[in-house]
């Protein structure tokens, strides 16, 4: 069931109000999946799994070194979080170990299949 806004003052409608729920039209498949992930708690499990794997593979340490390098260049005082994220995201995405990526993708695909979409 998708969440519908209830308004007390809304006049009663005989039929299902298509205009009332614009969210349904806007909800992409990806968003649906995301909602299901969150609701089932699987998203949290996945987050924990990703974090553990990335820490134990040394990826996080590499990222922290990259951050420190960036901070050294830009100066400690005027670095922003957004800037840091932008600076390390390309490298971060690229340097995820293949095994970790496969493990995660596998789990996600299982979830999608079992969500019967």
């Amino acid at each position: 069931m998708y969440i519908r806004k209830h308004s007390v003052n809304r006049p009663p409608t005989p039929d299902e109000d298509v205009t009332e729920s614009p969210e349904r039209d806007e909800l992409t498949l990806g968003e649906i999946i995301n909602i299901k992930l969150v609701e089932s708690g699987e998203k949290e499990n996945l987050m924990e799994l990703v974090r553990d794997r990335l820490v134990e593979s040394g990826w996080k340490d590499e990222m922290r070194i990259a951050c420190r390098e960036h901070v050294k260049k830009k100066g400690r005082k005027d670095v922003t979080v957004d800037e840091l994220i932008r600076a390390i995201t390309p490298k971060g995405r690229a340097s995820v170990p293949d095994a970790v990526k496969e493990e995660l993708l596998d789990r996600i695909q299982n979830f999608i299949r079992s969500a019967a979409l």
Binding site: M47, V50, V79, R93, V96, L105, R113
Partner: protein, 160 residues
């Protein structure tokens, strides 16, 4: 209905999307953490690190350098707390035998004399009769044992 391939590719796409989303979250965490450390100066400053590096290099060079004043080094060894210990202990305390104030570094020789172990002390000790009896009896037994003592030693004994 054979959209299995389509489904698979869209599934792949979806799962990739989810995966990237997860990775981005972790990246944001790391960035936030590093940002905090950087702004609070918790991580060692670049200048501080360089300074420490320089100091450690200097210290190592000094230790390895043989042309340093070795005389001062060997006489006054500096321990890890930076304290230097003179080779002769300088603390003064009271001798428990005679009650005099003795420098700790000279305590052993003092005790020799004070308690009668040394040569000169025997002269002092023989003044008291009981003490001299004890010493003489001890000396006799020790003389018998020391049959192969060097001649100089025996002379000294006789003189005492």
């Amino acid at each position: 209905m054979s959209n299995s391939e389509d489904n698979k590719s869209s599934h792949d796409q979806l799962s990739s999307q989810v995966f990237l989303d997860l990775v981005d979250s972790v990246i944001a965490d790391v960035a936030s953490e590093c940002h905090r450390i950087a702004r609070l100066g918790l991580d060692k400053d670049l200048e501080v690190v360089e300074e420490e590096l320089r100091l450690s290099v200097e210290a190592r060079a000094k230790v390895a350098d043989p042309s340093n004043n070795l005389e001062t080094n060997t006489k006054y060894v500096v321990d890890i707390f930076g304290q230097s210990h003179p080779p002769v202990a300088t603390e003064v305390f009271n001798c428990m035998n005679c009650g005099r104030q003795i420098v700790a570094g000279r305590f052993a020789p003092h005790l020799e004399r004070c308690m009668g172990k040394g040569r000169k002390a025997r002269a002092k000790a023989t003044r008291s009769t009981t003490a001299s009896q004890n010493r003489n009896s001890r000396r006799n037994t020790s003389d018998n044992q020391l049959s192969s003592a060097p001649p100089g030693f025996e002379e000294n004994v006789k003189r005492a």
